[in-house]
Symmetry: C2
DNA sequence: GCCCCTCCTGTCCCATGGTACAATATGAAA
DNA sequence: TTTCATATTGTACCATGGGACAGGAGGGGC
């Protein structure tokens, strides 16, 4: 498999030992001595993988790194691995989306189970992400005007209403509408609404006029 | 406020003390000595509230009760409150959707914060639930045939295709379609697709024919 | 047997959406 | 200046959706 395990821990000997164990188990391993190091070295395309993260590390802490990665939109699942597990930290980490929270020392079997769960989840997350990204890319290709028309279409407005709201003619809206369907690569209104729903762009279309 | 706090703990004196503290803080409190007791007494309409749950209780354990309530579709958020917090149990509980995981003894302030978070979340959950339930109720009013037509409509099929797939005429589909729009209380196809999307009933409409 | 619901079907007619043939105007970029 | 993207508008024509007016067939409950 091509999955990477990113280990972040300030204890060099622990890193090395863990790296050996995981390489024997068939994973590709990259190690980092600090959160900074991982942030600097992690490429934009994360690839398949997961992060093994210590809580107490010099500089940016484990949970802080987790928050930063979430902000950056990372999909890499995090497995915390620490010697000092207090309940509050554990709760926070899991709530923030960590895949697991394990305590040192950890049996290889248990660790590998957690890693595999994390990798499986990452596959799903990446799939969703990729799909949504491609939809967003399509949406971004719309001109401002087309985007306005798009929004009104998926709110259930008919061409006549849209023309009125945008201060133009029905014929013009037809032209934009055609462009929208073309650029979004859909053949039916249903697909278009589905996309809008998935992207969360949609004002439920109750009222007419702002 | 009318929010109920349901306390489940086998320690009678702890229950009583906690009940006093929370009643002073303005909550309505109901106490239970076991998971069974709560399951028996909790009405179908849970009302606004949350559950304070001990992990180790005779009979069904805290996490087991949590699982059972999830199965039953309860929306009541759970705050675990226990003397014996091991990491694995904590992780499991939070992953299973617990609002928080606190350890005894607990400061009133901290406990009340957790309860209020739980209550706030419950409001949101109940709102979502209510909305989806009413949509499901509308959907359930469709006759089998209308439901078939509904599914094909939101997949983007046009009347002609639907008629062909269901082995009937376009005119008939128009009649069903009218019924569907009527019963689902929508004026536009966009709204109908939006509902289907929210209810998760929707086969993305790629292929024609099964 | 009768009534009601579901499912099915039909004919007009009109509103709406979609497309094929156009064309014009504006502003920014090359 | 030329070129391009964007936004705009027009006239047809046809496909589709949907309402108004009907009615028939079959099954289950009263």
């Amino acid at each position: 498999m091509h999955a990477y395990v990113h280990i972040v821990d300030d204890d060099a000997s622990f890193r090395a030992a863990l790296e050996r164990r995981l390489k024997l188990a068939g994973y590709r391993v990259v190690t980092y001595a600090s959160a900074r190091e991982l942030l600097d070295q992690l490429p934009d395309d994360e690839g398949a993988g997961c992060i093994l993260l210590d809580v107490r590390i010099p500089g940016m802490s484990g949970p802080e790194l987790q928050g930063r990665l979430n902000e950056l939109g990372s999909t890499l699942p995090i497995v915390f691995l620490t010697g000092h597990a207090d309940t509050a930290t554990t709760v926070q980490a899991i709530k923030a989306g960590a895949e697991d929270f394990l305590t040192k020392p950890i049996a290889s079997e248990q660790l590998i189970e957690a890693i595999n769960r994390a990798l499986a989840r990452h596959e799903l997350a990446r799939g969703r992400r990729t799909r949504l990204d491609s939809l967003r890319a399509l949406l971004a290709k719309l001109t401002p005007r087309e985007r306005q028309v798009f929004d009104l279409i998926v709110c259930g407005r008919i061409n006549k209403q849209i023309a009125h709201e945008l201060g133009t003619t029905e014929r013009t809206i037809k032209a934009h509408r055609h462009q929208v369907m073309e650029k979004m690569q859909v053949q039916s209104l249903a697909e278009l609404v589905s996309i809008a729903e998935q992207l969360g762009t949609r004002a439920s279309g109750g009222e007419v006029k702002a």
